[in-house]
């Protein structure tokens, strides 16, 4: 497998992982919204309510930065990273 193919395989793997986490917090947990709301979540809010107003939103922010860092590592590993940082 060429360097480029390996890079793409790894990038696809990262994409799948990112989308899996995304799926859980944007769709998965809301299948059980009513049940989950019985539980007390962070800061004392009902759990589902908390996810809709802070939890899922915050997790998406962290997820994107995590994804960006992982992808940069993959790019570096195969020598595809760009110069300059901003």
């Amino acid at each position: 497998m060429s360097k480029q193919e390996q890079h793409w395989e790894k990038s696809k793997g990262l994409l799948m992982m990112t989308l899996a986490i995304w799926f859980v917090f944007s769709i998965g947990i809301f299948l059980f919204g009513a049940e989950m709301n019985e539980v007390t979540g962070p800061f004392g809010y009902p759990l589902t309510y908390w996810f809709t107003c802070q939890g899922s939103l915050g997790i998406f922010v962290i997820l994107i930065f995590w994804f960006a860092n992982r992808q940069e590592k993959i790019d570096e590993e195969f020598g595809f990273s760009e110069r300059g940082d901003d």
Partner: protein, 603 residues
């Protein structure tokens, strides 16, 4: 004062700007103490901020295509994040979102999840690859990846349908705010709003829009957060509302149980002015089925990843790496406002319905409520209404009605904040609506000037001529939008949601598969865009004209049907026609490598 080039000095420039704006707020509050009228403060806030944007727009003027279309591709990640956040958060987010949460609770909060979760798709599936491509517009990507004028043209059609639906709502919002703040009739205020919008974008194109959007973000976030924190502290609900409102949320649930949700008869509801609603849904309980919630969130997420005015912001970053990071920053800046909207809704609702609070009106006598100053003001503005349906003389929960906008606009006054805050909120709403309208009008005008005029009609046109065409289109599209907005056909929020559905119906799969599926070809993409858009629009018309719909897909989520048709037709047509040329396949391979020169730059 500033050494070196503008980009290196950005933190300083916007630091001074933020300080200046805070200083202006202080001057205004001193003015209020000294007897400045509420109206004068409102005018000052709107006029001052709009003047600043116009100056930035003028200073960013340019005659270069690269600067006009993609701000010279040198916008640093954090600032591009702010600009995207302003581009993204529309008048609807600013003025109507807290109101939506206030009235509809959980079912509405699917929009919060959808409008943030979509950025994960943007970051992972699209933005970095489109940046590597080096296109000027979204149809530029479609046209180059799939080849042929027809695919390019179809992309322009989808873009125009989606963005135009969206932009009328934004011009409508600027008109609403301008008409309230400047006290002029709506029909004229719409054009005042439009001229302010064009001042930012006409001379500098994307460069002008970028730097005004950063300035607008700063105004809108201060205007949103300051009242939330202030009200929360004033009510004694906690000095950091986001972490401290659990008691208030459970108190609302308690009051809801105590009052009950009494259903009003249709006859009684006839009395209520159009556009106002009562509290009929639980605040924090799950009040929608899983599918209703998930389908709305999913439609908004896929729509986010297909809206061209958002995508084109990531064409302005210096590198592919920066485009990825920049999506993260965008969402962070959006998160600051979105996570505050539910808190504002909570504070607003509790302050109105809790009889044990001095501001609470439920349980008071009707005549007492009708004598309150702020009630009279907002009743006159057609945003509040009470009526004694059961004739017991006391105001019940089901007898109190409010417009969605009032949650943001009226809560500061109800909580007893000085008027300067209301002026600030008006400036924030104006900034939110203007920044989104600018991004949208520019997206449409750029697509038509670059993709239709330059790429299809006259590929030999000189830069100067191209930019003249781009600017003329900007004005024409702006006026068309304002003319339709002046007719006041539909509400702000409804048309925003439709824009997402249109965009995802036509563009989501052609964009995503363009990067992730090498076998996707021109015929498939054209079929995907055309059939997706037609079936989505057809479904909307069908449901609007009394159709029953299926699978629980409503007029707000018709994009789910449209994009499903788009996916199936794109895959089927791609597979029955010949595979893309070797050159195209090599191009896709190259898009997937972040380093190296952009694809279009090479040609």
């Amino acid at each position: 004062m500033l050494k070196g080039n503008f980009i290196d000095n950005l933190p300083k420039v916007y630091g001074i700007y933020t300080g200046g704006f805070l200083g202006f707020i202080i001057i205004m509050s001193i003015g209020e103490q000294m007897g400045m009228s509420a109206k004068a403060i409102g005018i000052c806030f709107v006029a001052f901020t709009v003047a600043i944007y116009a100056i930035i727009g003028y200073l960013s003027r340019t005659a270069q295509a690269d600067a006009y279309y993609v701000a010279g591709r040198q916008v640093p990640t954090v600032f591009n994040g702010m600009a995207t956040a302003a581009d993204w958060m529309s008048g609807a987010s600013f003025v109507a979102m807290a109101g939506g949460i206030y009235f509809k609770g959980y079912g509405y909060m699917a929009l919060l999840v959808g409008w943030t979760g979509g950025y994960v798709l943007v970051a992972s599936l699209l933005a970095p690859y489109l940046r590597k491509f080096g296109c000027y517009t979204v149809p530029d990507f479609i046209g180059t990846r799939y080849g042929g004028n027809l695919s390019r043209f179809m992309a322009v059609v989808v873009l125009t349908v989606a963005s135009f639906t969206y932009v009328t709502a934004q011009i409508n919002a600027t008109g609403t705010i301008a008409s309230v703040a400047l006290d002029i009739p709506f029909q004229y205020a719409v054009y005042v709003g439009l001229i302010s919008i064009l001042l930012c974008s006409m001379l500098g194109g994307m460069r002008g829009v970028t730097w005004t959007q950063v300035a607008q973000y700063i105004v809108l976030i201060i205007a949103y957060l300051l009242p939330v924190f202030w009200i929360s502290n004033k009510m004694g609900a906690g000095f950091f509302p986001h972490f401290m409102l659990a008691d208030e949320v459970s108190r609302i649930a308690e009051l809801e149980a105590q009052f009950g949700f009494v259903k009003n008869s249709a006859e009684n509801l006839k009395e209520v002015p159009k556009g106002l609603a009562g509290i009929t849904k639980a605040h924090s309980a799950v009040n929608a089925t899983p599918w209703a919630f998930i389908s709305l969130a999913l439609a908004m997420m896929m729509g986010t990843a297909s809206l061209p005015h958002v995508m084109m912001r990531y064409f302005t970053t210096p590198s592919v790496k920066a485009a990825r990071k920049s999506v993260g920053w965008s969402l962070f800046f959006i998160f600051l406002l979105y996570s505050s909207a539910p808190m504002l809704a909570t504070l607003s609702k509790l302050s109105l319905i809790d009889p044990s609070l001095p501001t609470g009106i439920i349980g008071k006598s009707i005549s007492e409520v009708q004598a309150i100053d702020w009630y009279q003001n907002w009743n006159q503005a057609n945003l509040m209404f009470v009526s004694d349906f059961n004739g017991n003389g006391t105001l019940e929960l089901n007898e109190f009605f409010m417009g969605g906008k009032a949650v943001v606009l009226a809560t500061p006054e109800i909580a007893g904040l000085p008027y300067v805050i209301s002026g600030l909120v008006a400036a924030g709403g104006m900034a939110a609506a203007m920044s989104t309208a600018d991004g949208l009008i520019l997206a449409i005008a750029n697509a038509i000037s670059h993709d239709v005029y330059y790429k299809i009609i006259d590929p030999k046109a000189e830069t100067a001529k191209r930019l003249v065409v781009a600017r003329v289109l900007l004005v024409v599209i702006g006026f068309a939008g304002a003319t339709i907005a002046a007719l006041e056909i539909q509400g702000i929020l409804g048309s925003v949601i439709w824009a997402f559905d249109f965009a995802m119906s036509g563009l989501f799969f052609p964009l995503v598969l363009g990067v992730w599926w090498k076998r996707a070809n021109k015929e498939g993409a054209i079929a995907g865009m055309a059939l997706g858009l037609i079936s989505g629009a057809g479904y909307l018309v069908w449901v609007r004209t009394g159709g029953s719909g299926f699978l629980g897909i409503t007029q707000l989520t018709f994009g789910i049907f449209g994009s499903a048709v788009s996916l199936v037709s794109m895959v089927v047509v791609s597979l029955i026609t010949s595979e893309p040329s070797a050159a195209t396949q090599r191009m896709v391979d190259e898009v997937r490598i972040p380093s190296g020169r952009s694809i279009i730059g090479k040609q």
